[in-house]
Amino acid sequence: MSALARFIDYFRGSGEYSVSVPPFDGALRPNERLETALELVQAPEPDNLVTLADGVVFSSADSLLRFELDAPAGAHTSAVPLHRLPSTVTALAARDEALAIGLEQGGIVILGGRHDGATISALDGVAINCPTALAFEDADTLLLANGSASHPPSRWKSDLLDGGSSGTVARIDLGTRRTARLAAGLAYPLGLLPLADGGLLVAESWRHRLIRLDVSGKISRVLENLPAYPGRLAPCREGGAWLALFAPRRRLVEFVLREPAYRQRMMTEIPSEYWIAPTLRPMASFLEPLQGGMLKQLARLKPWAPSRSYGLAVRLDAKFRPAESFHSRADGCRHGVRSVLEVSAGLLAASAGADAIVIVPRPEEH
């Protein structure tokens, strides 16, 4: 019966073949808080914001840079290079003085702290080819998310279009180097947040949802039907979490995901920057695909246009429901926010589309 049901769905365009996308509504109602945020640091494609000692460390291509937040709000800060890595940094976690760094070429390296210099390139014989997220559970235990078994992190678009679901989450004991696989078959885990009760919150990007891994290994769904692809998770002072969403879900992309013939030809004949797929940057070239609502009317791009990039950061409350959101809409430039971090002065967001780290100041306490 399920084959018949699938055929009926295919014929009618319903069920799994329906291309509808949940709207930005409720707490996710669009605003301009990211677009009007203050620019703090300029760096090409910033990502992976973490706090280290009393400063903020982030990655930009293959460098790790550090800056401090003592400057008055609104002033530009310069970031000081901290480390240079052999390839692009794709995941970062910090604990005390230790930094765990995931690399584009594969593998993890630890710099500083007790396990300084350690490198891990495989888990139980399986190579770590796509480290997408790292988190320290405690000083000796590292949690690792491997996004996909078939594509490196820079080819995330290919993984999305291939319908990839080969991501894994594992726990590594840095002292004994024992590894335990916590979950497999995930669709591109991009965010990891250890919870106070021992569970682990994981952002599963291609399934646009947050799931929770229990101590016993049980997977439960926490937040589903997100209107954008979730990226990195960060802890929130008031409980809950901060979630960065790096690209919006659009109906045309959903449709292309259900058209195998077109997708195949597109992926073989056309360079990846011109695919019908989400992007981190606003449209830069006329060779990129254009959707009807993106046509400039009276020489202006409409904020609600179906762009392939978008800037979105969300605060989740204690029950992990969206409570507050920060947007940069289709006509803005602060798109591709892969990572956010809460500091005492406000919320930091790393926007790959604007090549900058911006800060949304904390609202005045009454």
Binding site: R251, F255, E259, F286, L290, Q291, L295, K296, A299
Partner: protein
């Protein structure tokens, strides 16, 4: 392999026909017609002599009588009412005719007139109460039914024998009920003739329009000054007369009137009307619908009788049929436009040659040359698709509000409405006498004289024989140019879409456009070239024998000779443009400017080679999410007749001119227009002839 399959399938199967047929106004009759075919297909194998001559003749005689009543009922329902008294009128008329013929001995014409009078009188009672006194149609006609039925019962009780005794013989009287012409029974012939009259009245005469208006929107009809009461009353009178006529034929056929004459006839008539698709709410229906319904009812009733089913079976089956028909009809009415929107766009296969590469070494290299424009009319003009200047330097452009706007020389700061035509004026050109000839999308070709008088030149061309759409009308007249002898050649970008949907034509990628010639000397219009991929800009070459035209979705520029030794020849001079060419105009150095309304993108070019993908996208994805040609970027090129690009100007970031549809050179400046923009740009061209104007180039400066 699958690509050549797509190509052949798109070529052989004309998928666009389905959408075009669905958009016709008579398509509503498709469902009752289908029901008719189904019922014939169901009953004919089960009844051996279904198509035998005698059974057909018998059935059609009954059909004729039912049809007369259904015609009356259709007209009443069309005006928003309902007539439940037709059964009683029918019975009353039967009795009266028998009385007049048998008992009173009147001649046949007087009997018919008397029957019509009785039917008209009953109808008049209905009409006065419902039309003038505004009583409820259902209850009033029900009461009339009861009262007339009661009178009929009383009369039959007393005089039944008297009226049934034949007193005179008349061949004419027998012919009414039993005669045929060449196998066609008289009742059917009469019903057909009256049906034709009713159809002409309903569709082409004022009374018919009034009836449909009153039925469609009674209050609006009243506000528009239509005599609602009189119209409604006349429908009931008509219904009464027709029912009485039917009764007369029945009287002649049966020769007796019993207590069950005409019982249930109103139900059968209503069933027939609704089965045929006449809306009970009023305003929607036609004679054809009623006739189809009557046909279905007759076939079902007589077939069930012949099959020997019990006495209640035919009513029950008819009731079920009615339920099904109403359900389908309601769904169809609600969803027709939705289905049409999805089915109408019929994507075809288009394989464009590989685009010329746009990089630093190509003649199309990106630059910022259009950053230096001065802006005219920023925020004051909307939709200046084409701009033109006269000898005094005034600038004219169209606007989406239907105006031709004139910006006054020399600084183009003050403006006025030069002419209000309607539609969206697109291409402009001046003729020898200084008249401004304009292509107005949605309307046709118009001329504005120097005295600001508007003259329609042409809005109709020859209809092509094999087109389902009526392509004699012009939906999207785009650009034009004028030959030295005064002939105007203009492009119609697409025959399948209106100006508000011209981008959907890019998804179709079918050769829907054509180039038309209007000759002012003979005031005739003729299609010159057809089956073009969105023909857009047209520009006369300097030899006066040929013109260049751009095909936007074809991404090419072609030269066509309309005169001289090469007449009729066409040659593609630029076959693989990297963008979609829009308007073409002359430049001061003997070459041509062309605007690119958008640039080709690899994903869209790939989609053009996969029509199934585009078809499913049109069906499943909302309109604003469709993939479109990239019209947020554009450039202006200067090219020559050999197809070499001599210059290229970009607004790289799309700040002022994201979509450029037209450019016009005038006295050393280039004026840019965009059909979705709210400004006109003026760019100084260093090195261009500061005296050169279009008027001088075409007409040596003559005219205004």
């Amino acid at each position: 392999m699958s690509e050549s399959f797509s190509r052949w399938r798109a070529r052989l199967l004309p998928g666009h026909i389905i959408g075009e047929i669905l958009s016709k106004s008579w398509i509503d009759n498709a469902i009752p017609f289908l029901l008719l075919l189904l019922s014939i297909a169901f009953f004919s194998p089960r009844i051996s002599d279904f198509f035998a001559a005698y059974s057909l003749e018998d059935n059609s005689r009954q059909l004729g009588e039912l049809l007369l009543i259904v015609l009356g009922e259709t007209i009443v329902v069309l005006a928003g009412g309902i007539d439940l008294s037709v059964g009683a009128t029918f019975a009353m008329s039967t009795f009266a005719c028998l009385g007049m013929f048998n008992a009173l001995g009147w001649s046949v014409p007087s009997v018919m007139l008397g029957a019509a009078a009785i039917g008209g009188a009953i109808g008049l009672v209905n009409g006065l109460l419902i039309g003038y006194l505004r009583l409820r149609a259902f209850l009033t006609s029900l009461v009339t039914l009861i009262i007339v039925r009661a009178i009929f019962d009383a009369l039959t009780l007393k005089y039944q024998i008297a009226v049934s005794m034949p007193n005179q013989k008349s061949d004419l009287w027998d012919f009414l009920g039993n005669g045929s012409w060449f196998g066609v029974p008289f009742s059917l012939a009469l019903a057909a003739a009256i049906g034709l009259l009713c159809h002409i009245t309903l569709t082409r005469l004022r009374l018919g329009w009034h009836i449909q208006a009153v039925g469609g929107a009674r209050r609006s009809a009243y506000n528009a000054g239509i005599p609602v009461g009189r119209t409604v009353c006349s429908t009931y009178v008509l219904s009464g007369v027709l029912a009485a006529l039917s009764g007369a034929l029945y009287a002649s056929r049966l020769g007796a009137a019993g207590s069950d004459t005409g019982v249930g006839l109103e139900v059968a008539a209503l069933t027939a009307a609704v089965l045929g698709g006449v809306s009970l709410g009023g305003g929607r229906g036609s004679v054809v619908k009623g006739a189809l319904g009557a046909l279905i009812v007759t076939i079902v009733q007589t077939s069930l009788l012949r099959l020997g089913l019990g006495s209640g079976a035919s009513e029950m089956i008819l009731g079920i049929l009615l339920l099904v028909a109403v359900a389908i009809d309601v769904k169809w009415l609600k969803n027709r436009l939705k289905v049409l929107a999805k089915v109408y766009v019929a994507p075809g296969y288009l394989a464009l040659p590989a685009a010329e590469v746009v990089d630093e070494r190509s003649p199309y290299a990106l630059n910022d040359r259009l950053n230096a424009v001065e802006l005219i009319g920023l925020g004051e003009i909307e939709g200046p698709e084409d701009v033109i200047l006269d000898t005094a330097g005034n600038l004219y452009c169209g606007s989406r509000h239907g105006d031709v706007i004139r910006f006054f020389a020399p600084d183009h700061k003050k403006w006025d409405v030069y002419a209000h035509i309607g539609g969206h004026p697109l291409g402009h050109a001046f003729d020898r006498d200084g008249n401004l000839i304009v292509c107005v999308s949605g309307m046709g070709l118009y001329k504005v004289t120097p005295a600001q008088e508007i003259v329609k030149l042409s809005d109709e061309t020859n209809r092509s024989w094999l087109s389902i759409i009526d392509d004699s009308r012009m939906r999207l007249a785009d650009d034009l140019d004028i030959a030295p002898d005064g002939r105007i050649f203009f492009s119609e970008a697409t025959v399948r879409f209106d100006v508000s949907e011209w981008m959907v034509d890019s998804l179709e990628a079918r050769p829907n456009g054509r180039i038309i010639c209007y000759d002012p000397r003979t005031a005739t219009t003729r299609t010159v070239i057809s089956k073009l991929l969105f023909p857009n800009g047209i520009c006369m070459t300097l030899d006066g024998q040929s013109f260049l035209f751009a095909e936007s979705w074809g991404c090419r520029i072609t030269r066509y000779w309309f005169d001289g030794p090469n007449k009729g020849r066409s040659q593609v001079i630029m076959p693989n443009l990297p963008g979609y060419p829009d308007n073409i105009n002359r430049s001061s150095d003997g070459h041509f400017w062309c605007a690119f309304v958008g640039m080709r993108a690899p994903t869209f070019d790939l989609a053009l080679r996969m029509p199934g993908f585009r078809k499913r996208m049109v069906e499943r994805v909302p309109h604003d999410d469709w993939i479109y040609p990239n019209m947020n970027s554009g450039c202006v090129i200067k090219f020559d007749l050999e197809g070499t690009v001599r210059d290229c100007l970009w607004d790289r970031n799309g700040v002022n001119h994201p979509m450029i549809t037209s450019m016009r050179e005038h006295q050393g400046h280039l004026y840019l227009g965009g059909s979705l923009n709210n400004r006109i740009g003026r760019l100084k061209l260093p090195g261009a002839d500061p005296e050169w104007t279009g008027m001088r180039s075409y007409w040596q400066g003559g005219g205004a």
